[in-house]
């Protein structure tokens, strides 16, 4: 049986892992390699490294750390942030990343998704979506790494999820912004709505605060993977404990 995946997300800024609340007020939580190895040893199924400053400031991902991570990790990892072209993606994949994730650049240039999928295969191409619940439904936000520039991209989330799949995305990470960093649980209603239109693997992001939240997002929203940051970085939830609880609840996880 395919196991549900637990994915710690390491937001990277200036070569260090940071975490903010509702995308603001970022503080340093640790060294990249140290945290990567800790999560590998604790049984993380995959890691996501997201350079939260790259996209807004027009910088590219610092590739030196990607290679350092690739040399020590024996589990898959994905790199996001500042990937605007096939050449950007190629550099990150050549450095040893398994997958690349595009968010704002895909909104500005949706054709990028198809070009990446054609060159590297859909399985390498993750599309990250920052989605906000509004009066007019679920809306895709862009430039969310910078509170001054974060805004509605003009796209409906469910429509965008359909479009990115048609264009060749191999996985979707849905970050529910209202839930992010506040540890009140994943946005089950929104994730279930996206699941219904998503035939590629779907990763839930934003809101994990307790072990029960993971159980419900797998059970009720049917996602393939659950991503979280602060609960892991703070030690509030240890991955071995989380996996043992999920297994007891009858959810397939890798030991």
């Amino acid at each position: 049986m395919l196991a549900r995946r637990i994915i710690p997300c390491l937001d990277v800024r200036d070569g260090q892992v940071v975490k903010g609340v509702r995308f603001r007020d970022h503080r340093v939580v640790g060294d990249i390699l140290e945290l990567a190895c800790r999560y590998r040893d604790e049984g993380a199924d995959e890691l996501v490294f997201y350079d939260i400053t790259a996209s807004p400031e027009g910088r590219s991902v610092d590739r030196a750390w990607v290679q350092r991570v690739a040399k020590v990790l024996d589990i898959p990892f994905c790199v996001a942030g500042g990937i605007r072209s096939v050449a950007d993606a190629e550099a990150v994949l050549n450095a040893g990343a398994e997958k690349i994730s595009v968010n704002s650049p895909a909104l500005a240039d949706p054709g990028l998704i198809g070009r990446l999928a054609e060159r590297f295969g859909a399985q390498c191409v993750v599309v990250g979506i920052d989605s906000e619940t509004t009066a007019s439904g679920y809306r895709v936000y862009q430039f969310t790494g910078d509170p001054d520039r974060s805004r509605d991209s003009g796209r409906d989330t469910l429509q965008w999820v359909r479009e990115v799949q048609e264009r060749g995305a191999g996985e979707v990470v849905l970050n529910c912004m209202a839930s992010d960093g506040v540890r009140q649980g994943y946005d089950l209603a929104q994730l279930a709505a996206v699941r219904a239109v998503c035939e590629v693997p779907l990763v839930a992001s934003g809101g994990a605060g307790a072990i029960a939240h993971f159980e419900s997002v797998f059970r009720e929203a049917g996602v393939d993977a659950a991503l979280a940051a602060s609960v892991f970085h703070s030690g509030a939830i240890a991955i071995p404990d989380l996996k043992a609880s999920l297994r007891r609840a009858g959810i397939e996880v890798r030991p």
Partner: protein, 201 residues
Amino acid sequence: MSDLSQVVVIDSGGANLASLQYALERLGAGTIVSTDAAVIQAAPRVLLPGVGSAGAAMRRLRDCGLDTLIPRLSQPVLGICLGMQLLFEASAEGNTRCLGILPGTVERLVPAPGRPVPHMGWNTLESVQPDPLLEGIPAGEYFYFVHGYAAAPDAATLATTDYGGPRVAVARRGNFRGVQFHPERSGAAGARLLNNFLRMN
């Protein structure tokens, strides 16, 4: 670093050779990445990795003259992911004729509710047959899979994985073996499998 642990990795054009090289380095193996027929022919062991599409990978092998060389190799050869699929007769991906070393064809996985495609993540090996490549790897062990096409099990299958039915996870014909998963990203179990391969002569 002994000669015995030398392995030549065929540069099949994918962008992800680094993770495989790092995994081999962690096991103390010296690796050469090459498309040179003489280098590949002289190698004690050959790895055929691959990401991207079957059509592009076969084009690259043909352009390098490797489509005729690979089936004639007599040393241990291991295809990984797309590299395993290329060992079959053909792939439905772009209706591509492949190397024809393993019998059968590779078909597209069809998504269904609760079963997205690509098949992505950690899945278990089932129906594991005894083989030096799988020594110390019991049924139920998890490996990391990422693929949108798969082969149906037959007599050449050494292990399956279940995703809407049994799919080929490991196959063998003579000195040629293939794994659908990525051992280089499959933790301790993947390292064990690669280490088993590096011990083959």
